[in-house]
Symmetry: C2
Subunit: 347 residues, 2 copies
DNA sequence: TTGAAAGCGCTAACAT
DNA sequence: ATGTTAGCGCTTTCAA
C-alpha cells in the first residue's frame, strides 16, 4: 500500500500538495493536480481513513442504529441510507440493538463515542435523554427516523393521520363494523406507534359517529403470524367485522391468510387494509398506505450531509426548518388494491 | 471529550501506562490499573479509534459485503455477525453491493482499501480474482459465507447434498412425479447455487431410477411471488407433479399459496419442501432443510478473530483446517412439518 | 500556488 | 512496572 509520500515523490511535489490536490479543497494549479491524480492512480493510492480522520476530525463514516435488522422496514431504510452514503464517499457502520439492554448501553456509552462516526442515524428508536446527550456532547449530529424525539431532528410519517386515513378509506366504502389490529406492548417501544395508530383509528370512528367496540380492537406483534392469530379471533365471532385495519402490512397479510383459512373471501366478506406497502403487499393485493423507508434513509443522509459538508446553497430546506420545528413529516400514499371493497349486502 | 492525557493526569501516571492499563496487553500493577480505570470512568474517557488505529494498524472494525440486505438470509447472517463482533468490541461496517457494477467497483477499489476495516466477510458473493487480490494485497483477512471461493476460506452448506436430501425425503414418502423450482439466471451469481441445487435434485432422481422430466423443472427468482408463478404453471398441468421441491423457502411458500389458490390441498394433493427454515416456514407448516445464517455469521467472525487476535488455544479448529481445505461445511437439518406426506392414492 | 513543519491522540519500543 | 519518546499517515497552518 503506497502512502502519500510515494505519491508526492512520483508527482514531484510535497505531500501537502498531494493532500490538497486529492481533497480539492484548496487551490492547486491545474497541471500539478493532473500529475498528482495520475501518480495516485498509477500507484493505486487510497487515503488512510485513520490518518486522515485523526488529522481532520472527520471519519467519513456514519453510524446507523436500529432495533432490528430482519424486518422489511429497517433493512429497506438502511439500504436507502447506505446507497446515499456510498455515493458521497461515506461508510455506514451498523449498530443493531436487538441484543438487549447491555448491548444497547455499550453501543451508546462506548461504540458510538470512539470517534468512529461523524454522525448518527437512529431508526425507530426512542432514545433516552442520556443517550441523546452522550451524542450531542461529542458534537455528533443526530437525526432520527420515526419520532419525534425531543431536541433531535427527526423524519417520520404522521402515524395518527395515516391510521385515520386508512380507517376513513374503509368508512367511505360503507363499512360500519370495523376492527383494528394494533401493536402489542412489546412493540410499543417504537415511539408509541401502536398507540398513535389506534388514536387515528378512534378519531376516524368518532368523526363518523360510530361507537367504539372494544371487542373489535386487538393487538399483535407486527408479524404475519401474529396478524393471523389476531384476525382469526376476530373473524370467528358470530358478529364479525366487515373490515379490518391492521397497523402494519405484515399483520394485514396475516389477516388475509386467516380469512382464507376460515373460508372467507377478501374483499367480498371482509375488507383488509394495512400500512407500509411492504414488498409482499402487491402480491397479496393488499390495499395499504404506503410509506417509503428507502427514501427516508436517503433523506436522513441528506440532512446530515448538509450539516457535515455545508454547501453554499443547501440542496433542500431541511436542517432547522423555517417553522422552527425539528420534525419533518414524510409522504405517504393510499394504494388501493383488491383487498378492500364495500361491505357485504350494501346497495 | 477527555483524551488520554487527562486520564493520565487524573490517575497520576503517564499516558503509556494508561494505554497499557486500558488495553490490558501489558503488565501494569493492580493498584495503578484500578486508579487508571477509575480515572477513565470518571472522565467518561473513550479511546479514539482513529488515533489508536493509526498507531496500531488495527481498527477494530470488520467490513461485511453483501449483495442484498432485504432478504432474510442476508439480514439474519449480518445479525449473527454483528452480535459476535459487538461482544468482542468490534464494529461492523456494511457494504451493500445492490447498487450495480460501479458501486461494486468503488467498494472494492476504494472503500475497502482505506484501512477502515481489519477484515472482510463476504456473504454469498462470488468475488473476482481481482477483488480478492486487492484485499489480500492489504493483508486483509477475508472469509466468505457461501462458496467455495478459490484461495479464500469459506463457510457454506453443501448445496448439492442438501438438495439431494430434500429430494430423497420426497422419494421416501413414495413420490415418483417430482418437480423442482430452481433459481433463475439472475440469481445464479451466488455461487451457482441454483445449479448446484438442481444437480442434487437430479442426482437423487438418478439414484432412484426415475427418469428426468424437463417439464417438471422450472425456475423463479427466489421470491414468494416467483414461486407462486412457477408453481401455478406446474400445477395446472393435467399430469401435475405430486411433490415440488423449491430451492428456497420463499419460493416454497409461493408454491403452497399457489396450490391453495388452485384448490389443491397441501400435503394431500401435493407435497412441498424448501430449503432455509425461513422465519415464515413454521407458520406455513413448511417442511424444509434448515440452515442457520445467524450461526454462519457468528462463525465467520470467530474465524476472523482467531486470525486477528490469536490466542494460545484457538477456540475451535477452523483456520487452515487439518485436511488442508479452506472450506468448512455447515450444518443443515431436515425439519419435517405438515407440507409433505405420501402421494395421493398411495397404499 | 507550493513547501516546511507542527500536530491530530494514541501505542510501542526502549529505557530505567 | 512505569516513563520517555518516536512515530503511525495525513492535514493544515504559516511562510515563501
Amino acid at each position: 500500500m503506497p502512502g502519500i509520500i510515494e505519491v508526492a515523490m512520483r508527482a514531484g511535489v510535497s505531500t501537502a500538495t498531494v493532500s490538497r490536490a486529492l481533497s480539492g479543497k484548496s487551490s492547486v494549479s491545474d497541471t500539478t493536480r493532473q500529475r498528482v491524480l495520475a501518480a495516485a492512480r498509477d500507484l493505486g493510492y487510497v487515503v488512510s481513513s485513520n490518518a486522515s480522520g485523526l488529522a481532520t476530525g472527520r471519519t467519513k463514516n456514519v453510524g446507523v442504529v436500529i432495533p432490528f435488522l430482519t424486518r422489511w422496514f429497517y433493512s429497506t431504510a438502511i439500504e436507502g441510507a447506505e446507497t446515499a452514503l456510498l455515493h458521497r464517499g461515506y461508510d455506514l457502520t451498523l449498530y443493531n440493538l436487538g441484543g438487549g439492554a447491555d448491548d444497547r448501553r455499550s453501543v451508546f456509552e462506548h461504540f458510538l463515542l470512539r470517534k468512529r462516526v461523524d454522525a448518527v442515524i437512529a431508526i425507530s428508536l426512542e432514545l433516552t435523554a442520556s443517550e441523546v446527550s452522550h451524542l450531542l456532547a461529542m458534537n455528533t449530529p443526530l437525526v432520527g427516523i420515526g419520532g419525534p424525539l425531543p431536541g433531535v431532528r427527526t423524519l417520520s410519517i404522521d402515524d395518527v393521520a395515516v391510521a385515520r386515513q386508512a380507517t376513513e378509506h374503509l368508512l367511505q366504502l360503507g363499512h360500519r363494523r370495523l376492527a383494528h389490529i394494533g401493536g402489542d406492548q412489546a412493540s410499543e417501544r417504537d415511539f408509541h406507534l401502536p398507540t398513535n395508530r389506534r388514536v387515528g383509528f378512534d378519531a376516524a370512528l368518532d368523526a363518523a359517529g360510530i361507537q367504539h367496540n372494544p371487542d373489535l380492537v386487538v393487538t399483535a406483534d407486527f408479524t404475519i403470524e401474529g396478524g393471523h392469530r389476531a384476525a382469526t379471533a376476530l373473524l370467528v365471532q358470530s358478529d364479525r367485522p366487515t373490515a379490518i385495519f391492521a397497523a402494519s402490512d405484515e399483520m394485514a397479510i396475516g389477516v388475509i391468510l386467516a380469512a382464507r383459512d376460515l373460508g372467507l373471501r377478501v374483499p367480498e366478506d371482509v375488507s383488509v387494509i394495512g400500512i407500509d406497502d411492504h414488498e409482499l403487499a402487491a402480491f397479496f393485493g393488499l390495499t395499504t398506505i404506503a410509506q417509503y423507508p428507502a427514501e427516508q434513509g436517503r433523506r436522513a443522509v441528506e440532512i446530515l450531509m448538509d450539516e457535515l459538508e455545508p454547501r453554499e446553497a443547501p440542496s433542500h430546506g431541511y436542517g432547522t426548518t423555517g417553522n422552527g420545528s425539528l420534525h419533518l413529516p414524510l409522504r405517504v400514499e393510499l394504494i388501493v388494491r383488491s383487498s378492500t371493497a364495500p361491505p357485504p349486502n350494501s346497495p
